[in-house]
Symmetry: none
Subunit: 276 residues, 2 copies
DNA sequence: TTAATATGTTTGGTATAGCCAAACACCATT
DNA sequence: AATGGTGTTTGGCTATACCAAACATATTAA
């Protein structure tokens, strides 16, 4: 593994990126030099030089000059972000299929990949006239209380799933969140049996998600897709009906990537789990 | 203006960002340490440290370990890029440019977006000592008798433009208002050809406006800007001179949002309209 | 097998350049 | 005027970013 030693890092580059994250956290309002310098524990002069550097390359933009100059994220990040998404082949393949899925079940659908233990949304198709669920691209979903997250966890060996949960923890996002490891591992076993994962108000009250994994050539889970909607709406359509619609579309994506369908990919894992 | 002197920059941060751009240029395949180090004219060791730093914060991701380790853009950029888009408010970008425009032509200028068929004013810069035209923020302009409205209509497919006109109607605001659909559609075709829209006393007698569209990354019209003044004053300066000044400033705003200039955005639409 | 030549990783030593403190210019307040 | 905020600019100290070179590892060729 690559060493985590600070010796092999470039300090001022790291500080610059931290500053960028800091500015991102300020959102639309942006941040001022003095505040940013204080928060990052750097002298105004040093922070100023960094801001100028980020500015020159378009990573940040400045609004207002003189006394109340404010810095916010710039256009270069838009370009790089678009490109980063484009580099993930999955999103290109998945989004057209998600359009069909959304058309079929009338629910907002998403595709996510596992990154550093979190589920990162890389594609999205909104249901027409649906309530806008917060599903921004790049959003990091907690793995233990989202359908995509649980589908991805179910694909991993229990060891790895546990390791991820230890890092992310199991914060209580709603009264229905599964907050114990044993409860969640039990749910993952159910997920394997069913073939699709259910998020039953575990992140947001009243909101339900149903998700399934997509697999690539190697047979490993390349990501997961899910549909999101008000719980009552999904119950009306029948959870299992929706679940199998999700699986059917996930399998189409897997096929396009040369991977096996869910039923096949999880066959041996299921065999290992069921007797236990 | 902020100095462009290298003295006020952080060299290694700049190099790191350049490295990021370099990796972006490699696209899906990504880049290898040796190649990247050579291209950026840095020792392998230095480049290695930078890559580790970018990696630790998720700005890049690595695929394959050991001999053929490859680096490509990471998930953090997806998140930051999406956020950057959300943070860009048209009025923020437009107003500073409008200041320049007002200074250049000595006329009050405005920026508006299309909302539910009406042009909504979201930013304004008054000309010094000019007659105060009623240009309050949030004001809903009728699309058929304002420069911003007609510029926006001209950007839409004829179908949609007609649909909007059916909803808003074509009330006669002055003796010069175009009150028939055919007259207006004809005027929109002229607008496409010119690149800028003219409101010739169509809303208020004696008052003339000249407007042009601004475009975002997707190539769609994000809004429009216009200048307003007494008709005689604009004729004195030359309508076409003013029109091209408006276009020039609109293009600056479009560029800041990653969009194309008017000439480019309307090229194919013009081609479709002209023979008709 | 052995050698050769790629790759990525690790190591000191040195000069650079990044950082701080303080002064400066500017604009709001009071 | 005077005060207390901004952002900008300056010198000087020293931390640190960089290079060269050695090391480890893997693929190729003889």
């Amino acid at each position: 593994m690559a060493t985590t030693d600070d010796r092999y890092r470039v300090q001022s580059l790291g500080r610059g990126l931290e500053l960028l994250d800091l500015i991102a956290r300020r959102g639309r309002e942006g941040g001022r030099l003095s505040d940013l310098a204080r928060e990052i524990s750097l002298s105004k002069a040093a922070c100023y030089a960094m801001l100028q550097t980020l500015l020159a390359r378009g990573y940040i933009a400045d609004r207002g000059k003189g006394i109340e100059r404010r810095y916010r994220l710039g256009m270069t990040l838009v370009r790089l972000g678009e490109q980063a998404i484009g580099n993930i082949a999955l999103s290109d393949i998945a989004v057209p299929v998600l359009r069909d899925l959304t058309a079929a079940v009338g629910l907002t659908s998403r595709v996510a990949v596992l990154d550093d233990g979190y589920a990162v949304v890389v594609g999205r198709v909104d249901a027409p006239g649906a309530i806008r669920f917060d599903a921004a691209l790049g959003r990091r979903e907690l793995p233990h209380c989202s359908a995509v997250g649980k589908a991805l966890l179910a694909s991993l060996p229990s060891e790895q799933a546990r390791a991820i949960l230890h890092r992310t923890g199991l914060p209580e996002r709603s009264p229905h969140t599964l907050t114990t490891e044993s409860a969640l591992m039990h749910d993952l076993a159910d997920t394997l049996r069913r073939g699709y994962a259910i998020d039953d108000e575990e992140d947001t009250e009243g909101v339900m998600c149903v998700g399934a994994c997509v697999f690539d050539r190697s047979g490993a889970a390349a990501g997961a897709i899910s549909v999101t909607g008000l719980k009552q709406r999904i119950l009306d359509r029948g959870t299992d009906i929706v679940g199998h619609a999700v699986i059917r579309h996930a399998d189409r994506i897997s096929a396009a990537m040369g991977g096996p369908p869910v039923a096949e990919a999880w066959r041996e894992r299921r065999a290992g789990q069921q007797p236990a």
